[in-house]
């Protein structure tokens, strides 16, 4: 067997891809290795429950808000309180701000250089700086849109990154009328930017036909939260699984009982675990989470502009599930639209100014699970505490973990399609990176790991000898 290894960039964290050639010269096996580890689940032990939102938020600088909110939800369970109505809405508002800023970062800053400057363009300029050169207006709009999402977060939490604002039982403070008015005033510009980006994306579908066909295009299960009435959901509701025909495989599953339907597999070659749908077994229980999964799982988006966009999106697959992971980008843009529409609704709701935002209570349960949708997919925090409220045990399942099997399948598909001969070409490297980037993986989060790491690809021959290696520094 021969093996190829590839390093990946412009993702959060760093990774290694190895490709194994079979006797027939075709790629027999491809593995996406996550080679970092950090140990959050271990060193949280002994800490007071009330510190957990801010502590787990430090897992990442891109999605601290996701961990903050998910941790606060697990804390709500342990206090055994119902969060005040205003706090529930305010947390949702912050999560929507997080969707806007994170998705805008993924699309405009990280992925659009591939999409718009060309897969085979010079890697030295195929980045956000190259985008500023080539498409200054688009770059400016993307940066502004991300900043808008961050402003929502800052208005609520006092700072853009790592606000320690959500707490077990609720949140610390409501929105001020001044901040509400400022956000409302700029909402139309944000909506118009994302609508332009959607039009741009749709206009390029023919140019990307080959990538759409080969970037993780396979039938699979999809998992996400949906509201009780089947609407797109990002914070509450129940878990739904659909298959590639968009048939509902399971619905209304209690998020807290995740261990009943999700199991985690461990492979020796990656620090990232491989969750799978228990009933289907490993690895057949592969499912995808995140923007693509949420759009495939929900019945409708629940807001007018996003619903129109969803109809166009569904038309790609005649109403069945859209199965190409390339379209994570498309789904991400539609979710920005939905998030902005919902932000608009909350800004008109007087509850978000209410001072009654926090339920105080002691330790009333010894175990709690928080589940919500982070921009990258379903996020789960599971804690056990002692009678004093000190953490005894932690399990975190993050979106990139859910997508681990799918990312590996995607890498294999791309390698088979684009590897010709025994050389790792620039075009192959770019597409392997792009295929992984479609998932907007956060390896820092997924292994609770640190740092930005380039991707490295290594190609191994049938007898295990290294044939070719290519790395991006």
């Amino acid at each position: 067997m021969k093996k190829i290894k590839v390093p990946v960039t412009r993702i959060e964290g760093h990774g290694l891809i190895t490709l194994q050639l079979g006797e027939d010269g075709q790629v027999a096996e491809a593995k996406f290795h996550v080679t970092e580890t950090r140990g959050f689940e271990r060193f949280c032990r002994g800490r007071p429950l009330w510190e957990m939102p801010a502590l787990t938020a430090r897992i990442c600088g891109i999605c601290p808000v996701s961990h903050l909110l998910c941790s606060a939800k697990a804390g709500d369970e342990i206090l055994a309180v119902r969060v005040p109505r205003a706090a529930d809405k305010l947390r949702r508002l912050m999560n929507l701000g997080q969707f806007v800023q994170s998705h805008a970062l993924s699309f405009f800053h990280l992925s659009s250089p591939d999409l718009l400057l060309g897969w085979d363009s010079d890697p030295a300029t195929r980045n956000v700086f190259g985008l500023v050169e080539e498409r200054p207006e688009l770059a400016r709009q993307g940066i502004w849109l991300r900043a808008y999402g961050q402003r929502v977060i800052e208005a609520l939490g006092g700072k853009k990154i790592h606000p320690a604002w959500a707490v077990p039982g609720g949140v610390r403070s409501p929105l001020s009328p001044e901040d509400r008015d400022a956000l409302a005033a700029d909402l139309p510009r944000a909506l118009s930017i994302v609508q332009d980006a959607l039009a741009l994306y749709r206009g390029h579908l023919d140019d990307w036909a080959e990538e759409i066909e080969s970037f993780g295009n396979f039938p699979s299960l999809f998992m996400s939260l949906v509201a009780p009435d089947g609407t797109w959901e990002h914070y509450g509701g129940g878990i739904r699984f659909v298959d590639s025909q968009r048939r509902v495989v399971a619905d209304g599953l209690a998020p807290a009982r995740y261990q009943d339907y999700i199991a985690e597999h461990v492979e020796a070659w990656s620090y990232l675990k491989f969750p799978y749908y228990k009933e289907a077994g490993y690895p057949e229980g592969l499912y995808r989470v995140g923007p693509l999964a949420r759009l495939n799982c929900c019945d409708r988006m629940g807001t007018p502009l996003a619903d129109e966009a969803l109809d166009e999106f569904r038309a790609l697959a005649d109403g069945k599930a859209v199965t190409s992971s390339f379209h994570y980008h498309y789904a991400r843009l539609i979710e920005i639209l939905a998030a902005l529409e919902r932000i608009g609704n909350y800004l008109e709701d007087p509850d978000i100014l209410s001072p009654r935002v926090r339920a105080e209570a002691g330790i009333n349960e010894l175990e709690g699970v928080g589940v919500h949708e982070a921009p990258r997919g379903t996020l789960l925090h599971h804690y056990r505490v002692d009678d004093q409220g000190l953490i005894q045990w932690v399990n975190l399942i993050v979106s990139t973990g859910h997508n681990n099997l799918a990312m590996n399948r995607t890498v294999l598909q791309i390698a088979r399609h684009y590897l010709h001969g025994r050389e790792i070409t620039e075009g192959l490297l770019n597409r392997l990176e792009g295929g992984i980037r479609a998932y907007d993986p956060c390896l820092s989060c997924s292994v609770h790991a640190v740092g930005m790491m380039p991707l490295k690809v290594q190609l191994f021959g049938p007898s295990g000898e290294l044939i070719s290696e290519r790395a991006r520094p």
Binding site: G46, R47, P48, W50, E51, P53, A54, L55, R58, H162, A164, V167, P168, R172, E360, G362, Q388, G389, L390
Partner: protein
Amino acid sequence: MIRLQIDGRPVEARPGQTILQAAHQAGIRIPTLCFLEGLSPVGSCRICLVEIENWNGKLVPACVTEVEEGLRVVANSPRLRELRRRVLELLFAERNHICAICVSSGHCELQDLACELGMDSVRFPYRFPGLAVDASHRKFLIDHNRCVLCGRCVRACSEVEGAVTWGFAGRAVHTQVAPDLGVPWVEAESCTECGKCVQACPVGAIVERGKATAEQEKRPQVLVEITERRPRG
């Protein structure tokens, strides 16, 4: 009155006053940590070190050194700033002071000192001790990871409240403050649950239970207010 010089300025003080008191009256800033108005000074933390020029440049803690006629005191100099910073770095290196997740972040005397003294890094290896949190009390908790052993809780408890719940246990680097000779706080029968130790604690070690990151604000001045309001007899 006693006449002395602090940083070259002539200063007057009453007999029995400390250099720290004389400096504060003259509006000269000397940073402190274990000192707290309303409690007896102990001079243990060494943050308030000053230099006495006519004692051959001897270093003394300003909070416990009494004024003398003709003293020439240096309260602020590059050398003192470096020494104070080093003292502070030793405190940071000794336990686990992680501001990012601390309940007292933004309201912490240790953090404020680090900013004031320009402590942008710690040049000593961190010890990372794995110390326990005692959250057994229904109102308060103590996180030994954040304790700087200033003893303000010990003095507030005995001198102001009169409960004498807090004391020191263990020796040297293993020293910890402990209620009632080392029982879990909830079992400390002498504790009146007054919370003065919380207000006296300069950092996020003794805090109100249920406070989340950056939420714990304190009023250490309450101790001197209490002692001043107390009828003199």
